[in-house]
């Protein structure tokens, strides 16, 4: 297993989405954890085929939105009713009605930042380097190629068995990726 310490993983190429989906199901059923599917666009049904759970981005959006709304309401109340009270046209110093439009906009603003940064955080992006990006064929992933990569650090990984599993999926091409 000396070679696997230098290798990042094993990569298998697929030519269409159907064979990729069925191969992913096989890898999932074999119980691998540190593996991934790489596609030029999100493939419908792949999350189930990989056994992924629902994404957690929504929590970031939710927290962002609640923060935005609270910030808006508290800010306007404090600024217009506490720190700098000014009577304008006999209107109340604070009312949730006039504070609503800016708070509503801040809900959306903070929620949007929550979604984008939540997505980047969960995906560990930006990432300046990835072993796969050095791999010759892998550049095709943004063009028209589909790949399955099983990392060598997966506890179930074995150089011969894993390769055999991928061969059974009918991939036309298997290769090792260096770290």
């Amino acid at each position: 297993m000396n070679s696997s310490s230098k290798s990042y993983g094993i990569i298998a190429r697929f030519n269409n989405t159907a064979s990729l989906l069925h191969a992913a199901e096989k890898v999932r059923d074999a119980g691998f954890r540190k593996w991934d599917v790489f596609t030029p666009f999100p493939v419908h049904g792949m999350d189930q085929a990989m056994g992924l759970k629902n994404s957690k981005v929504g929590w970031f959006t939710f927290v962002g939105g609640v923060t935005g709304y609270t910030t808006g309401m508290l800010m306007i109340w404090w600024m217009n009713a506490i720190d700098y009270p000014l009577v304008i046209g006999g209107k109340p110093m604070f009312s949730p009605f006039f504070a609503f439009p800016p708070s509503y906009e801040l809900t959306i603003l903070f929620g949007a930042f929550g979604s984008l940064f939540g997505m980047m955080f969960l995906n560990r992006l930006p990432r300046l380097h990835h072993p796969l990006l050095k791999h010759g064929q892998f550049a095709q992933v943004t063009h028209d190629a589909f790949f399955i990569v099983i990392e060598c650090s997966d506890p179930k990984y074995s150089e011969t068995e894993t390769r055999k599993l991928l061969e059974q999926t009918g991939t036309p091409h298997i290769e090792m990726v260096e770290e």
């Binding site: 030029p40 419908h44 000014l86 603003l109 949007a112 984008l116 995906n123």
Partner: protein, 477 residues
């Protein structure tokens, strides 16, 4: 086993149930990358320079006019008592209205699962961002002493005072700045996978570095796609109430005042419909020539044009309904000031503005009922410009006719724009087209990965995606 060998024939759906494919001629994934990313590669075409040089010159004109206005004062504009809001606010509302189609296409049509949006959303979102940039110039400068603009934001200052949030103008500050920021985030997020496409195709070090930097190290991992799609859905869900709120809040700048013709509850929905109407007009104006120049007929098909014409027709008709309803309520309310305003709108000294508004926004778009017009690119192009002329006059009618004759006949007046007004407006086109041409040259103008996702090959349950007929039948059971 013998049963499996017998070929299973799937009956073709009847002709009326067959769908026109979103990408014509069954192109491959690679073709889409090559076609769209190829537009940003190679030598800059001559036509690009032919358009870019005048655009930059107009941008220079804009900067000159703005410097002149800042150094001299708002008096260089035609705004004069009693019309204290002139071309500045007309152009602000006009540009920001145009900006509404982008977010409508990218957010609302995404939630409604309108897959045709994938071919036009990128360009429409770019249009939104650039239009909001043009719009933002006006409120920033019309305050007169624009070096105090920062007072509009809740920034602690030595005077220990704060913005006054009871004013709808403050709501507008929040609405427009949020709209710009969220549209930019949405646009950028959609660009990440496509910037990775450009990165992987780059031949030069500069392109590799720039696209590599902005694509954030995107690998197309499905674990990433899973979070990405959720975030995209959430951003669409957030942008939908946003796009509806922005022009509503812009309309509240008017509706919260006590002025006849402005003080109406119909304004928010009426402004939103008008904004989408003008936005689709601008999308058509931009995409029809681009489609021909870039030879993108297989991606932006006649069906796309047809659907956008129908949206224009629908929103234009809503706007027409709003015009009629304003007149009805003016009569029905029995308010003499309100009645006078609407009679003055149609028959007063600015009758021509009102006629142009109704003609361009309500009458002419009715031609889109006919398929011949929707399929004729020259006719659609001309009509799309007519729509935006009409929408400009709508804002002119609301603002200028609303202000020029108020309650006291002694203070009536007649507004005419100054040359600075006109040249500044012309200059904003320079900003818009400079930005748009740079976008066409350096960024993928069609969402590559999204279009790949809607062609039949992308569907693992479709025979073109490699599914065997046996599997398809099996999975349906």
């Amino acid at each position: 086993m013998a049963a499996n060998v017998t070929p299973i024939t799937v009956p073709e759906p009847p002709r009326e149930l067959r769908r026109i494919p979103l990408v014509s001629n069954y192109h491959s994934f690679g073709w889409i990358s090559d076609r769209v990313a190829g537009l940003t590669e190679g030598k800059t075409p001559v036509w690009w320079w032919i358009l870019f040089v005048p655009s930059v010159s107009l941008l220079g004109l804009l900067l000159f006019m703005l410097s002149y206005q800042i150094s001299t004062g708002v008096g260089v504009w035609g705004n004069m008592h009693p019309v204290m809001w002139g071309w500045d606010i007309i152009n602000f509302v006009w540009w920001i209205g145009i900006g509404h189609a982008g977010t409508l296409i990218s957010a609302i049509l995404f939630l409604l699962r309108q897959k045709w949006r994938t071919a036009v959303n990128r360009a429409a979102e770019a249009m939104t961002i650039f239009a909001v940039m043009c719009a933002g110039i006006y409120p920033a400068l019309h305050v007169g002493r624009m070096w105090y603009d920062w007072w509009l934001f809740p920034i602690p200052n030595t005077y220990t005072m704060w913005p006054q949030f009871r004013s709808p103008l403050m709501w507008d500050v929040f609405a427009v700045s949020t709209y710009f920021t969220v549209s930019l985030l949405f646009w950028y997020m959609g660009l990440i996978p496509d910037l990775a496409v450009l990165r992987d195709r780059s031949k030069t070090k500069v392109r590799q570095f720039m696209y590599g930097l902005f694509s954030l190290g995107w690998t197309g991992s499905n674990r990433h796609w899973s979070n990405y799609e959720k975030a995209y859905l959430l951003l669409a869900g957030l942008s939908t109430p946003l796009v509806l709120s922005v022009h509503s809040i812009v309309s509240l700048d008017f509706a919260v005042s006590q002025l006849p013709g402005w003080h109406t509850t119909i304004f928010p929905p009426y402004f939103v419909a008008g904004a989408i109407f003008s936005g689709f007009g601008m999308v058509l104006t931009l995409l029809i020539p681009i489609r021909s120049i870039f030879k993108l007929q297989d991606l932006i098909t006649m069906r796309h044009i047809d659907i956008m014409c129908k949206v224009t027709l629908a929103t234009g008709t809503i706007v027409g309904y709003a015009y009629a309803m304003e007149f009805f309520i003016a009569w029905y309310s029995g308010n003499p000031s309100e009645r006078f305003h609407f009679i003055n709108r149609a028959l007063g000294p600015y009758w021509w503005g009102w006629m142009l508004m109704v003609g361009c926004n309500v009458v002419v778009p009715q031609l889109f009922w006919f398929k011949w017009f929707r399929q004729n690119l020259v006719a659609v192009f001309i009509l799309s410009i007519v729509v935006n002329v009409g929408m400009w006059f709508e804002r002119f009618v609301i603002i200028v006719i609303g202000l020029h004759r108020d309650f006291l006949p002694s203070s009536w007046g007649y507004f005419s724009p100054s040359i600075v007004d006109m040249l500044t407006y012309l200059g904003t086109f320079g900003l818009f087209f400079t930005m748009f041409l740079l976008f066409l040259r350096f960024l993928p103008m069609i969402a590559i990965s999204e279009v790949k996702g809607v062609i039949p090959q992308a569907d693992p349950h479709h025979p073109m995606g490699g599914a065997k007929v046996h599997d398809v039948i099996h999975e349906k059971e």
